[in-house]
């Protein structure tokens, strides 16, 4: 009995997140019968608990990389490991928040968030976590609303809660704030940081917003045009909480824009 109790303690305690290893990964699609190279020999290591952002021109293959990490598709070449194990398919410990909230319109907010535990068959045990996740994203009181009754920002919060309730070890974020208005985006950026600091998971974030990447991440990976290759990475060692007006962030921004070939616009 005692041993069991201790084990439950151990599995629910906050963990440091998963380590991700992308090894020599190339990927191509078929477009009108022609092969379209999207990723070219991408190598990437993300340490457990690290917050990494990926920047790159639109259409270069960022989402594709995330899909491979999520296990939604196998790579054409190369391998992906999570904590040393080959990624073979999707798993709720590597949950994705997409650019669109992709909520189930026929499910209420509560039932959307509860879908993960329901799928795992442990909803009864996780009812508290559902309420907690909704509280975390500030949506207490909207449990019975349907997705069409929410604003874009609220819907994206539900999507975030739906991911968090699975206690992810690696949170995969594909431009999750891309479609939000700037005020909501700023608020949610700060929320993301505190969520990450409290829950202790690894974050892999794709964004097209240079400032967002630098404000949030410890390391920013810059991709080339399609087919995406690693172009540079910028380490941002500024401590949290960060200040948006920090001149060091502005300096880093300059460096990143130069890497993206936009230094003339500085």
């Amino acid at each position: 009995m005692v041993a069991a109790a201790i084990r439950v303690e151990a599995t629910t305690a906050p963990t440091a997140g998963s380590a991700l290893h992308v090894q020599d990964v190339s990927h191509q699609f078929k477009l009108h019968g022609e092969p379209l190279a999207v990723l070219e020999r991408v190598n990437l290591q993300v340490a457990a608990g690290e917050f990494v952002a990926v920047l790159g021109p639109s259409g270069c293959g960022k989402s594709t990389l995330l899909r491979l990490v999520a296990g939604l598709e196998p790579p054409s070449a190369g391998r992906l490991f999570i904590d040393g194990e080959l990624i073979a398919g999707p798993h709720p410990s590597r949950v994705v928040v997409f650019q669109d909230p992709t909520l189930y319109p026929w499910r209420t907010v509560w039932r959307n968030v509860a879908l993960g535990p329901e799928a795992q068959g442990n909803l009864q045990a996780k009812r508290g976590r559902v309420a907690e996740a909704l509280k975390l994203v500030g949506l207490t009181g909207f449990e019975n609303a349907y997705p069409h009754q929410l604003s874009g920002g609220m819907a994206q919060r539900v999507a975030l809660a739906r991911a968090l309730v699975n206690d992810p070890q690696l949170l995969i974020l594909d431009e999750p704030l891309g479609k939000l208005d700037s005020l909501t985006r700023i608020a949610m950026q700060s929320e993301l940081v505190s969520l990450w600091q409290n829950a202790g998971f690894t974050v892999l974030l794709v964004t097209h917003d240079v400032e967002e990447a630098l404000f949030l991440a410890q390391r920013v990976i810059v991709f080339s045009d399609r087919p995406a290759r690693l172009k540079t990475e910028i380490v941002n060692a500024l401590p949290y909480p960060r200040h948006r007006g920090d001149p060091r962030l502005a300096e880093l921004r300059h460096a990143v824009l130069a890497q993206l070939g936009l230094d003339a616009t500085w």
Partner: protein, 292 residues
Amino acid sequence: MIAQLIRAAAPKPRGAVVALAANDEMQLITIAPAAARARGVPRLVRRASGPLLLLLLWHVLSVTGLLPDTVLAGPATVLSSTAELLASGELQAAIWTSLYRALTGLLIGGSVGVALATISGLFRLGEDLVDAVMQMLRTVPSIALIPLLIIWFGIGEAPKIALIALATAFPLYINVYAGIRNVDVTLVEAGRTLGLSQAGLIRHVVLPGALPNALVGLRYSLAVAWLALVFGEQINATAGIGYLMSNAREFFQTQVIVVCLVVYALLGITVDLIVRVLERTLLSWRPAFSGT
């Protein structure tokens, strides 16, 4: 059907308040839509007056003898005939028999249609095997199968129910299949990342996603079920509304024929109403659903 479509397409009457600033003074002007502006007479009354006038005309033509009973019985005769048929219990028995045929046929045909649609919607192999056959068969008007059905099933209840089943299977098949195929693939992928199994995806994502289309299919199926019922009951019926009708035809009782026509119409309306209530409850989550 057409009237419904037009009604659904017309914007709902709504009052609008417009603020105008004139000479530094705010003025509130209420602009009412045309429908509400018509003086005095409520809309319902105005809409009902057309059919009522028609009824009155029919009555006048009948009592003046311009419209003989052998051509079309007048409203008064129809009413008294209805009362007689109800008193003798004939009408109720006929309604139950017909309703039973329609619903049994729909149940069989609908189940087959939904099952086949699920198979070809979910599985490639199922699609290859089932869909081509269904698309081919659906071009044959089911009414044209009556002679074959009589040869296969005789002239009892079976061919009538088979005809209804055949007719109702296709609308449900086509709509459920389309519904399954149109389920948003990003919702399926989101479900996969949340750890839904194949069965879980079908149950929690694909089938609920196909529900709106399925209900459209159900409505079409019900419409053709009535049509098939009317045709099926022409096959040597010994009970049911069709039987009442063909009996009446033999004796030139046009009033009974009118009663039967009205019953067909009322049954159709009732069942359509049930589907609407079903849609309203099952699809309450839909933003587009404005309530019929």
